[in-house]
């Protein structure tokens, strides 16, 4: 009978209406995010000078940008052999000594293939002479974690680079 069918359909619809379908690719075990910030002097509530970080807005040549990558182990197993590879962004120069990351070995590269400590990186001058590369000539940074990242734990690495 029509009336009955109508009632049944709408009840079914009402049940279906609250169901939401969302499609995810299988979630990565580690959640990784990367942000770019600048640092500015500010006065805190007590009147003391402090440094405050904010998203990059006024990005003229010469601006120093702080790049921070955070990662979180979202599963219940430890993550091992964590390595983060990071090319220095275009139109930017790596700031000497700015790379940071707890429990990491930090290495650099000037060609994206060979990674080493500062004194191991060589560059050929215009006249063909080999010399140690300057930090502003680095093209890649690599953080290698010496310890596993336990379930639920987070880590943070980063560096500074100046806009050319």
């Amino acid at each position: 009978m029509r009336i009955t069918n109508l009632v049944l359909t709408s009840s079914l619809l009402a049940l279906l209406g609250s169901f939401s379908y969302s499609a995810h690719a299988a979630d990565s075990a580690i959640k990784v995010t990367s942000i770019a910030q600048v640092e500015a002097e500010a006065i805190d509530k007590k009147g003391n000078k402090t440094l405050k970080r904010a998203p990059v807005t006024k990005a003229v040549p010469g601006t120093e940008v702080i790049y921070t990558t955070t990662f979180e182990n979202t599963i219940n197993k430890p993550a091992e052999n964590i390595v983060i590879n990071n090319p220095v962004p275009i139109a930017s120069e790596y700031k000497a000594g700015s790379a940071f990351g707890k429990d990491c070995e930090i290495l650099f590269s000037v060609d994206g293939k060979k990674f080493g400590h500062a004194e191991e990186l060589k560059i050929k001058d215009a006249d063909g002479k080999e010399r140690t590369a300057l930090p502003k000539e680095y093209t890649h940074i690599r953080w290698s974690y010496k310890v596993p990242l336990a379930a639920g734990k987070s880590g943070e690495v980063g560096f500074r680079a100046e806009i050319k």
């Binding site: 003229v60 964590i82 930017s92």
Partner: protein, 375 residues
Amino acid sequence: MSFPECRFLKSHIRLLAVWILLLLVAPQICWAAGTIAGTAISNTATLSYSLGAIPQADIPATSLAFLVDEKVNLTVVGGVTTNVVPGSIAQATAFTVTNNSNSALDFALTVTNVMGGDQFDPNTCSAYVESGTTAGYQAGQDTATFIDELAPDATKTVYAVCNIPAAANTDTGLVGLTATARGDFTGANGAYAATAGTLGAVITQTAGADTPGTVDIVFADSQGTEDGASPDAKHSARNTYQIAGAGLTVTKTASVLDPQGGSVVMPTSVITYQIAVNLGGGTVTNLVITDPLPAETTYVSTGTGSITITCISGTYTGGGACGIVTITTPQPLATKTDTNLDADFADFTGNTVTVSLGDVTGPADFVITFKATIK
């Protein structure tokens, strides 16, 4: 085209093919003035890891991209001294204007001519951009009145062209040139858009919160001689016009001696004329002093004649010697035989005294005296 900041890139690229590809693909982002405004910068970190000794898929993370903003900066350089002759027209003095911004820009030009610290004001001034066809100011070629589409780090020569008023030798007149950056920021995300042939709009600094996704405008210029202290997209400098060359002054005085020893102007009174010629600097060619005597007077020519010429300082054609010379008899100019300051430098014809000094190089002083009696 060379990229001074990008030298290190070249040393790594061994494969010609890769280098060519990079040139084609990479945006021309390296300039001494800085990365071209509008360039998008983001950071990508890639994390690799293992679970139970089994390598897992890499996880990349990219930061939110931001655009490089526009830094407006320019430099005007002057400091040039240009020698000019008083009363001369359209005298050019050169400045340079350099674009230190990280995009091409237009530049409006203004000339200031009235300021303190000088003895005269150049007038009727205009600014013209060197066209590059012929070196130096050419009125027919250098006609642009603003700088059109000047690339980052490029320089143009600009002339201030002024008239010089009457002034004394060594006097100076200051002239200032101000360049103001101009441009339409109507390109993608607020980037500079070229307006070839037309002067771009007035530029205003981005007020309020700057944004990562649009090209914000920041003024970064320093203060020049004519513009304000706060960055204002202007710069300026001064040049000096200096009077030199024909700073020639000729002064005539007369004194009267009457028969009684007084100075009454009456028949038979003797007038002594004194003409002082001063050349402050530079060289004047074929300097001739001509003095027609008044009709009521008679040149005194008796005895040794009355013209004396004294050279106090200076040199003249052939390096002739200075000294006091008395003309014994009036000589026509045609019989001048040498370049020395002697008898044949002066002539008295048709009641007119003519003294020819030849080419004179200053600083030089001459005094010519002669007598005439009142009829």
